[in-house]
């Protein structure tokens, strides 16, 4: 396996053992290493993408817009402007003479055409180089059109995905505080870091409704500009995911004194604990009682149904590679609930604290990895003889090529994985892949099948 690992990356890979845990992370990706990471623009785009009544205009050549067209399964209960791809489609002449005029005209025609609640203008690599003054163009259009027009400083090369999260939070923070907060309940929250993939935020909102808590703004799943503008009226920010929106919560705490808590809606333990933490925050016996009832009901429905999956999956080995490490915590626990063993876990953008937490909750022998690549991931899958790999689109062919089952935990998933029902869906997904008869025929298992006299073509 060592030959799969670049010398420069040795420090970013650890096998959990008795020694104190330490790992290198938050580094620039190694050139030539085929990192699974994207760029600053990706970080911003991914966070703001689900805001469904905003115009998302990508200022640059066509690539950045076309590769993010309708890319996430972020559902909307109303307008679906976010599912369109808008680009200034810069050409050679624009690069030479500057793209400001084109941006100005593009913004005007698109605002005219779609009447969005606001416009986000994403800066791409080239804009950072040719020096277009995005701020000035946006300000001008905002004045003329009377809607917020917000530049997102997301030049691809200026950092990594995390810098993109920050740029997105900066952009949203310009909106916060500009709306009317009248009539917002004292028991109110904003949901940060949920993107309503496969309708997940609707599941979570339903829980809060049952608990008697008002949700002011979805940030950003099924998000609306007007809601974000009045988000400062909420009493608590609930932040999910690996810090994609954590910066916004921090900014809101500093400016508006709104506290935040970090939660996860994946897996039974984390889902229940998230609801309890919110209930405890409001110190309202009614809310706490309703929360207990809700969790009790959900669990009594869920556990019997999980049982058959647990029986089939117990003892199987899982590997996890996701964008943000926070999601990995929940996945480790979710696999444990299914009686499965996590043998590898990694993320694109985890922090030191994230990896320490992972080390704390995994078993000895587990590989923990930061900013990995196909070379390493395939080596880990082989070495640990993994039964199922969970990850995103770019991880899927690595698993499939090696004949390993796979669970899509990506932005385009069609099954809700959050909430109590999400745990059941997750179990089903894992089961449906692990238990497929197809693995008997792939080379990895066919060799074993020969031994048992089952594989005809090998035996001949």
């Amino acid at each position: 396996m060592q030959q799969a690992i670049f010398e420069e990356r040795q420090g970013q890979i650890r096998e959990k053992d008795e020694r104190p845990f330490s790992i290198e992370c938050n580094k620039a990706s190694l050139a030539g290493a085929v990192s699974q990471r994207a760029c600053v623009f990706c970080g911003s785009r991914v966070v703001l993408y689900p805001i469904a009544d905003a115009l998302h205009l990508v200022h640059g050549p066509i690539g950045c817009a076309v590769y993010t067209w309708d890319i996430r399964g972020a559902l909307s209960s109303g307008r679906e402007l976010h599912r369109m791809s808008f680009s200034t489609d810069l050409q050679e002449m624009d690069v030479i003479f500057g793209g400001e005029n084109k941006l100005y005209r593009a913004l005007n025609e698109l605002i005219e055409r779609y009447s969005p609640g606001a416009a986000f203008v994403y800066s791409t690599c080239i804009v950072g180089i040719i020096g277009d003054d995005l701020e000035a163009v946006c300000r001008k259009v905002q004045q003329e059109r009377g809607i917020p027009v917000i530049p997102v400083q997301s030049e691809g090369f200026k950092g990594n995905k995390r810098s993109g999260y920050m740029a997105a939070c900066n952009a949203m923070f310009r909106l916060v505080g500009t709306g009317n907060t009248e009539g917002i309940s004292p028991c109110s929250v904003n949901l940060l870091g949920d993107f309503n993939l496969a309708g997940e935020i609707w599941i979570i909102r339903k829980y809060f409704k049952q608990m008697g808590i008002e949700v002011v703004a979805n940030i950003t799943g099924d998000g609306r500009i007007a809601d974000i503008q009045r988000a400062h009226g909420a009493r608590l920010n609930i932040v999910q995911c690996s810090g994609a929106t954590l910066d916004l919560a921090r900014m809101m705490k500093n400016k508006y004194g709104i506290p935040y808590i970090r939660v996860s809606y994946f897996g039974v333990e984390d889902m229940a604990e998230s609801l309890y933490r919110v209930a405890r925050h409001f110190k309202d016996p009614g809310i706490m009682r309703r929360t207990r009832e809700l969790v009790g009901e959900e669990l009594s429905r869920l556990y019997p149904r999980l049982e058959e999956y647990r029986k089939a999956l117990a003892g199987k080995k899982a590997a996890i590679y996701v964008g943000g490490a926070f999601k990995a915590f929940s996945l480790v626990k979710a696999f444990r609930l299914l009686g499965m063993k996590v043998v590898m876990v990694g993320s694109q953008t985890g922090t030191t604290e994230d990896y320490e937490e992972l080390a704390a909750i995994t078993d000895p022998g587990t590989i923990i990895v930061d900013d990995s690549n196909p070379l390493e991931l395939s080596a880990f899958l082989k070495e640990k003889d993994v039964d199922i790999f969970v990850g995103g689109v770019k991880e899927r062919p690595i698993a499939y090529k090696l004949g390993v089952a796979f669970c899509d935990h990506n932005h385009e998933r069609k099954e809700a994985l959050e909430g109590f029902i999400g745990m059941l869906n997750f179990a089903k997904e894992v089961y449906a892949s692990v238990m497929s008869p197809v693995w008997r025929f792939v080379p990895r298992r066919a060799a074993a099948a020969v031994d048992q006299g089952r594989c005809i073509w090998k035996a001949q």
């Binding site: 799969a4 670049f6 990706s29 190694l30 050139a31 030539g32 290493a33 085929v34 990192s35 699974q36 990471r37 994207a38 760029c39 623009f41 990706c42 050549p61 066509i62 690539g63 950045c64 817009a65 076309v66 590769y67 067209w69 309708d70 369109m84 791809s85 808008f86 200034t88 810069l90 050409q91 050679e92 690069v95 005209r105 593009a106 025609e109 698109l110 690599c125 080239i126 950072g128 180089i129 691809g156 090369f157 200026k158 950092g159 990594n160 196909p374 070379l375 899958l381 082989k382 770019k394 899927r396 062919p397 690595i398 499939y400 090529k401 090696l402 004949g403 792939v442 080379p443 990895r444």
Partner: protein, 459 residues
């Protein structure tokens, strides 16, 4: 009136692009490099380009797509990206042990002015070679000029320019098919094989982008056009290059002809009867042999099936979109079966699209198809209302329009992101036409059946 109605993008001229009907130039280069033996595509730019393109390509082929990146950061954008490009090359060479690295530039590195050929030259001079130095092929692919097809053809040309040596003449032929599917490439190889010819098909993604499940992760998938064959391309008897809209751009076929006098046959993509006939005619000339009985049989069965099914497709109105050469070839086939190509649209801007559409439609189609270069899906959607089409023909990205109109989308080309098997779609040859015809005829039959109150069981 002369020529078809070449429609300018709808008035007033929109400056923005909405739901593009094209991809950026570097991805085309990466796709071409994927079809060469032992090759790792490498993007000189920021990390996101490689990752986005990998994701986009993976979603079509369901294959590992390793594209390396020089992962430029802020300081490189200021001081130049050469150090990271060199480091990236060292790392790719160390771990992947490639035979070739295809290095495409991006808008970032083009704009900061990195001179990639010079950096490569320096790199080769500075690096001690132990005989394992891969061929390093740079191609300039600024994303702000042209589409993925310019990137694709540019990369193929760069490979040939870098590899082809002073020729010894041989009996083989070159085929430069453009961006077709792995199934298409396999079929081309089968055809030339059946003619008893040695053909160098460049690029050849038939295995590299449609490979088997394996016991070991294929760092570089097997297959691809052998580098040793590319070296000999200059000595081939002829080059067959597909694409009716590429005569104005510098392609590998043009280069081979200019440099080594290798005769170039510029043909349309062989889709449908007449374009496939033209291919077979050239192959007969070059091989001195008659078309093998197998293909005569395929052609005969195709014609027979067109007769059987002609009523179900006749007069149907189709919107055809995608890469210019693919649209031209599909249009050629549609007019052969009596389908009206009411709108032919492409994000490409070769300047030759309208002329090419006219060339393939004029003797079979009385009306003038509306043709649009530089189109996006907003333009296409704008035209849809007045055109009342019966079907769309193109890649997955037309799905939202097809869904809105409630008409079938016949999925062809790239990308196919909402179905499995994009790599197995056969477009070319009589066999490809047969598959497409059955698909289209059945889609029309089904649309009628689904819309019928009777729910009949016979056609």
């Amino acid at each position: 009136m002369e020529g078809p109605v070449v429609k300018k993008p709808v008035e007033p001229a929109y400056v923005s692009t909405t739901n593009a009907c094209k991809l950026c130039r570097p991805i085309g280069a990466c796709l071409a490099f994927k079809g060469i033996e032992g090759t790792v595509p490498f993007l000189h730019g920021s990390q996101g380009c490689a990752t986005y393109m990998r994701r986009y390509i993976i979603s079509h082929f369901n294959e590992p797509i390793d594209i390396a990146s020089s992962s430029l950061g802020e300081k490189h954008a200021v001081y130049g990206g050469q150090a990271n490009l060199k480091l990236g090359l060292v790392n790719v060479i160390g771990k992947y042990r490639p035979r070739m690295i295809g290095i495409a530039s991006t808008c970032l590195t083009e704009t900061i002015g990195d001179d990639v050929p010079r950096i490569i030259k320096d790199f080769l001079e500075e690096t001690r070679t132990d005989g394992n130095m891969p061929v390093l092929v740079p191609v300039s692919t600024p994303s702000y000029a042209g589409t993925h097809m310019e990137g694709f053809h540019g990369a193929v040309r760069a490979v040939v320019e870098n590899l082809a040596i002073q020729p010894t003449h041989h009996d083989g032929i070159n085929i430069l098919p453009g961006f077709v599917s792995p199934a298409d490439i396999r079929h081309l190889a089968e055809i030339t094989d059946d003619f008893g010819m040695t053909a160098t098909i460049l690029p050849d993604i038939s295995e590299t982008l449609d490979g088997p499940a394996m016991n070991e992760y294929p760092l570089i998938p097997r297959g691809g056009t052998p580098i040793s064959s590319i070296r000999l391309m200059g000595g081939a008897k002829a080059t067959l290059e597909f694409g009716r809209t590429i005569s104005s751009i510098p392609t590998a076929g043009a280069w081979l002809e200019e440099t080594y006098k290798t005769r170039r046959y510029l043909l349309g993509l062989p889709i449908g009867i007449r374009e496939t006939d033209r291919l077979f005619a050239v192959l007969e000339t070059l091989s001195g042999k008659k078309t093998p009985r197998k293909y005569i049989g395929e052609r005969e069965r195709l014609i027979d099936s067109l007769v059987d099914g002609h009523k179900y497709v006749f007069g149907k109105r189709a919107i055809i979109y995608g890469e210019e050469d693919l649209v031209v070839a599909l249009t050629a086939f549609m007019v052969e079966i009596g389908i009206k190509p009411v709108f032919c649209a492409s994000g490409g801007k070769s300047g030759l699209f309208g002329k090419a559409i006219k060339a393939v439609t004029q003797d079979l189609y009385q009306d003038e198809p509306m043709v649009m270069e530089g189109a996006d899906f907003f333009d296409i959607a704008q035209e849809v209302e007045s055109l009342s089409p019966d079907l769309l023909i193109g890649h997955s990205k037309g799905y939202s329009i097809s869904r809105k109109l409630g008409i079938p989308l016949i999925r062809v080309g790239f990308p196919i992101h909402d179905r499995i098997g994009g790599q197995r779609i056969l477009h070319i040859g009589y066999r490809g036409a047969q598959g497409l015809f059955d698909l289209i005829a059945n889609a029309m039959i089904q649309a009628k059946q689904d819309g019928s109150p009777v729910g009949y069981g016979y056609m």
